[in-house]
């Protein structure tokens, strides 16, 4: 299989000219990533900020007010309604609150007696399991704090056997954008390189211009590389644009050696382009390409790449799907480049994975196209 660079370049120029004429697609290709990045950066988060709670205080004594104040002081709870007549189950049904506290009338009596325990009831909306878990954790911590405050008032020698010193590394301010931003970079550029490449390949078949290519002296490999190079360039332009945008809007920039993520981007876009050509060469219509690309390249990357939902929670039986998604490996690189800054020591594995995936996708597309003749 001889590869003649001149022919590849000619192919590339032809594809780019054709793309330049299709104004709508070109605008979408360069404009959509900009919109998507902002959307991902600001809308995607699993963090629990302000928990809306309702409190039905049936005791109405200083102690119960102190108990409520403890919740207020944490700055994590936002008390929507409080008082003796608040109907907690109703508020939960309506979704106005994420949790409700019920302080019983005998709260103060039980609190004063030894051998007795006051009970406070916490009702949590479990529809969102993650939020519910976090709410439960915060509430029990707040409860513990109240108890501790009550006891330290009267007592003296309170020593904890173990005290814990926690340090949060790499992102001490716990900013979500530091985590979501680099991931969003990977997802926003996942869509268009395969989509454009797939559409161009399928268009040749749909309009039968592929027959002219077959009749020419162009080889399958040259045809494949020429097409890939054109959309690879578009993809790299997208990478540049979204990186600039992320710097402007999210304020994220390389913290360490940028070479792994640069090499990674080159490979990542290559993966996307070859995958698109593979899908395009198998589809009969352009709309079938759009469907298959939006599901395999976009939706799967968005949800199974570890962008927001951790990959380690995917059941083992289907985790291999995540492993063959290029975005899953590329996200590791962008996160390292923008937040951790370790460099090649930890980055060579994802880079290697991208090399393997790119070669696999190249082979798949090549096998489909190398014959260069009309199939029965």
């Amino acid at each position: 299989m001889a590869v003649r660079p001149k022919r590849i370049i000619a192919q590339t120029i032809k594809e780019l000219t054709q793309l330049g004429r299709d104004r709508l697609t070109l605008t979408l290709a360069l404009g959509l990533p900009i919109v998507l990045l902002l959307l991902f950066g600001f809308a995607v988060s699993l963090k629990v900020n302000q928990i809306n709670i309702g409190i039905q205080d049936l005791a109405l004594i200083p102690a119960s007010r102190e108990y409520i104040a403890t919740f207020e002081r944490t700055n994590k709870f936002n008390i929507v309604e409080q008082g003796p007549t608040v109907n907690i189950p109703r508020l939960l049904d309506r979704g106005h609150i994420a949790a409700g506290l019920i302080i019983p009338p005998k709260f103060s009596r039980d609190l004063r007696r030894t051998q007795r325990q006051s009970q406070v009831q916490l009702l949590i909306d479990g529809t969102d399991a993650n939020t519910a878990n976090i709410v439960r954790g915060y509430a029990s911590a707040t409860n513990a704090e109240f108890v501790q405050n009550m006891q330290t008032v009267g007592s003296t020698n309170l020593t904890n056997p173990v005290s814990l010193r926690s340090r949060l590394w790499y992102n001490p301010g716990l900013k979500t954008l530091q985590y979501i931003g680099p991931g969003a970079l990977a997802i926003t550029v996942a869509l268009f390189p395969p989509l454009l490449a797939g559409l161009a390949t399928a268009r040749e078949r749909e309009q039968s211009t592929i027959l002219q290519v077959y009749a020419s002296s162009l080889t399958g490999t040259e045809y494949l590389l020429g097409k890939a190079a054109a959309f690879w360039l578009v993809g790299m332009a997208e990478v540049l644009i979204v990186n600039l945008e992320a710097w402007l809007f999210f304020g994220i920039w390389f913290v360490g050696d940028p070479t792994p993520v640069i090499v990674g981007s080159i490979l990542y876009i290559t993966c996307g382009v070859f995958w698109g050509i593979f899908l395009g060469s198998n589809a009969n219509t352009q709309s079938a390409v759009i469907q298959s690309v939006s599901f395999t390249a976009f939706l799967l990357s968005l949800l199974l790449s570890g962008f927001a939902y951790p990959v380690s929670n995917i059941p083992l039986s289907i985790r291999w799907i995540a492993e063959i998604i290029p975005a899953r490996h590329y996200i590791l690189l962008t996160r390292d480049a923008y937040t951790r800054g370790v460099g090649w020591v930890s980055d060579w594995i994802p880079v290697l994975a991208l090399v393997v995936l790119a070669s696999c996708f190249f082979f798949l597309a090549w096998r489909k196209l190398h014959k260069m003749q009309v199939e029965p």
Partner: protein, 409 residues
Amino acid sequence: MIDLIDTILGSRFWALFQKEFAQILRNRQLLIQLLVPPTVFLILFGMALDPNIKNLKVGITDYSNSRISREFIEVFNQTDAFVVSKYYADQPDMTADLATGKLNVGITIPPEFSRDIARRRTAQVQALFDAVDANTATTASSYVSQLVEDYNQRRSEQNSFSQQYSSSSSTIGNSSSQQKANSLTGNSFSQSSQRNQVKLVTSVFYNPGLDSAWFIVPGIIGVLLTTIGSQAAGSLVVREKEAGTIEQLMMTPASTTEVLLAKISPLLILLTFNMLVGLVVGRLVFGMPFQGNLLLLLSIAIIYFWVGISIGILIASYAKSEQQSQLIAFFVNPPLVLLSGAMYPISSMSTFVQGLTYLNPLRYFVEVCRGIILKGVGLEVLWSQVLVLLLFATVLMTLSIRQFRQQLT
């Protein structure tokens, strides 16, 4: 009554409806596209999208290396949020692994740990968290402090301190089996019988097992119906435009509204069927209950389908070809999906973005789905959402019909 049926069967609408229905049934690709991906994606995402924190890798450098320190390390085995993955002889080795992401948490126990404990002085333990993922780090650090609190309490009870406080939690982490076991009765927390105790009795409503699939599945149903509805409607209309047959349709005595209504009705039937498939999958694969009224859900769903389909027609009226309409849909659908709370909770978004979600019809439909499916509430709670959906449906429908008409003339 018979008259009524006769007028319906004899009407132009009925004839067009039959034509459209036959056309859809003949269109294999569209049928497959309407029925297969929703099922696959429901199962896939229901299984895979789990935000809970499980199996975080803990590394331990134990300089004390005593019976007491090993007993302390045991606390990490009490929950399936953590897995002790490796022991280190030196802290720098551990921090190197933390840097490369092989560990999520690094614990260092100092040499004087056992001595301090024995002398009843406060021993210090250091915990390092990889905070690249801020959300996981916050939750992990609160779990670790709860574990240490628990340990302290047990330790103090053994030492029989006179004054002690009680930690109120015994179930830490997301051990779903544990949660399932005591979910209905609320969690009973460990306690000691002393003064000034407050016990927090927790009961989890609507999803007692805290199964995240129950959150995801109703959301994904809404998402799939939006994307599929708008794409299918768009491509049906555009295809007629591309083939040039739309002029023929316009030549018939049928009005534009009748033509569009006839185009939409078969889709409505298919989408309703789609929704039922989604509910059955949720039930069979994830054991998701159906608490509310099925008829109510279906009728609200039909209102919502009008919204989705109108969006599709609106897009189609601007597009010249099928792939153009699909490309424009890429601009419209991601914001609808991301700002709906279907996959990422709205309460986690910033205030400004939360405001934007009120403009999103899918937000209201997802609320309706969760309300009826999981909470079992009815119109008395959901009337406002239904009103908003009705408003969206009317406005978008009018707009799309007008736009479509303008395109033709």
